[in-house]
């Protein structure tokens, strides 16, 4: 199931959609955007440790897709919905990866 949630093009596309929604909100404050994304997925605000442990896909540290627009475009090409051109492609790929990670957390997957 891990492989489905991470690699099935449907889920990657869902992460991309969530990423675009996140980027279109909250002006350009990255912390607020991360908070919004977290609430959207888990229905609660992130704690301070959670905000910090986004690791290498954290928007604030080096974007793993910077300088790799082709890789970014590849990630965003999954699924039938067209690429959203309102937001930058390289940033969109990073947010998609982050959204994918959040959608794969146990909290997001488990229904209590």
């Amino acid at each position: 199931m891990a492989l489905v949630l991470m690699n099935d093009p449907t889920f990657v596309e869902a992460a991309r959609g969530l990423a675009v929604r996140t980027m279109l909100r909250e002006g350009r404050d990255d912390v607020a955007r991360v908070e919004w994304l977290f609430v959207a997925v888990t229905a609660r605000r992130p704690g301070p440790q959670e905000l910090e442990t986004k690791g290498p896909v954290d928007r604030r540290s080096a974007n793993p897709f910077s300088g790799r627009p082709q890789a970014a475009r590849e990630l965003l090409s999954g699924g039938p919905s067209p690429l959203d051109k309102r937001v930058d492609v390289v940033e969109q790929a990073a947010w998609t990866a982050l959204a994918s990670v959040l959608l794969n957390t146990d909290e997001a997957i488990t229904r209590e």
Partner: protein, 379 residues
């Protein structure tokens, strides 16, 4: 709070309730339970108490013939039955055994002996049916257990009992117990793998259920992982385009950190299982793709399994794949379910047909017993 997504008022969920209402002591207890389990892992992530003795067999390859091969036409020579052929089943034998839904309206219950001939094989002189000459050729090397007993009278309760120990649902399967007790020898593959094939004997008859390889009340990382038939045993192995291996590793690191934070809050050991499963998935992305490649096997080896071995997903192919792809790489328990044995009629022909599959051939058995590391290797 402005700008945050607006959700309807959420009822407190179970985890949050335990976290807040239980107070400091209980929460600490839950948290330490989570930590204690993970501290006993053996590096593969599975919680392993460890055996208290040095075992002699290392792995199990279980060829499960679902539907039920007719033992009196294959393995159990019943010469006395010939004398009762056609006569009513005596009460002294039946002893009030309950009837199935299918048979209870019958007015007669005649005895039927096998129409196949049995002859002795090997030095042990074990009598086997004429359709099993290959098994006969290794009769001295294998063990026949003749003391099996059951109270089950129909398929589903019976296979549930064979796989979990009771006819009632919910108990862990054999493979899960083995995985729980012995841990895994492989980091790259699950400790319990299930392969399913469909024979020609009775297509569509007698389904299988995933609870037959479920972990029941044991931690769910001990459940059987079913590999698919055909060329792609596992789906979605490839990462999406644009994400390379190091990128995926970074995402999994972040995911594990988030999950561990959650686990410290709520103490649910299943979170640790989930982390383990994601790590296993990551390793399987590397280890699985070359599993089904049998191109380095010799022609004579492949011929020993019958012509079906070259078709992925057949029982023959699974018989090769099980020991070779899985057991030789350390998978602890490999279960091959082969469907199509539920013969209610046409037994002689069907048994001969079924017996043409690798269950009756010699080479698969040798490979299987070597791969299972039976009794010759030290622990």
């Amino acid at each position: 709070m402005s700008g945050l997504p607006q959700f309807p008022v959420m009822a407190v969920n179970r985890r949050a309730l335990f976290g807040r209402a239980a107070g400091g002591l209980a929460t600490a207890a839950l948290a330490s339970l989570g930590r204690a389990e993970s501290s006993s892992t053996d590096g593969t992530g599975l919680s392993v108490p460890g055996p208290h003795f040095a075992p002699r067999a290392r792995r199990v390859i279980y060829l499960f013939q679902s539907g039920g091969p007719s033992h009196i036409d294959l393995f159990d020579h019943k010469p006395q039955l010939a004398r009762h052929h056609g006569k009513e089943l005596p009460d002294s034998i039946r002893k009030g055994q309950r009837l199935t839904e299918m048979t209870h309206k019958q007015s007669k219950f005649p005895c039927v002996s096998s129409s196949l001939t049995f002859k002795p094989y090997g030095e042990c002189g074990r009598h086997l049916s004429e359709v099993l000459p290959h098994i006969g050729s290794i009769a001295d090397e294998i063990c026949f257990v003749k003391s099996m007993h059951t109270e089950a009278i129909n398929h589903d309760p019976a296979i549930t009992m064979m796989n979990t120990g009771t006819q009632q649902l919910g108990k862990p399967s054999r493979g899960s117990w083995l995985s729980y007790g012995l841990g895994s020898e492989s980091r790259e593959l699950p400790s319990y793998v299930v392969l399913i094939s469909q024979g020609t004997g009775r297509p569509g008859g007698q389904p299988l259920f995933s609870r037959l390889w479920s972990s029941g009340f044991l931690p769910s990382d001990h459940q059987g992982v079913r590999f698919r038939r055909g060329r792609d045993p596992v789906l979605f192995l490839a990462d999406p385009p644009g994400i390379d291996r190091s990128g995926r590793r970074a995402m999994l690191d972040g995911l594990a950190r988030l999950n561990r934070l959650k686990q410290r809050q709520v103490g649910d050991p299943e979170i640790e299982t989930r982390i383990t499963q994601y790590e296993m998935a990551f390793r399987m992305q590397a280890s699985v793709p070359d599993l089904v490649d049998v191109s380095d096997e010799t022609e004579s080896t492949l011929d020993g399994y019958g012509s079906a071995v070259r078709t992925p997903g057949t029982f023959a192919a699974n018989c090769l794949f099980g020991p070779r792809g899985l057991a030789e790489r350390g998978v602890r328990f490999i279960q091959l379910f082969h469907r199509g044995w539920d013969q209610h009629g046409g037994l002689p022909k069907a048994c001969a047909g079924r017996a043409g599959t690798p269950i009756s051939r010699r080479r698969p058995w040798s490979r299987i017993s070597n791969a299972a590391g039976c009794l010759k290797t030290r622990w």
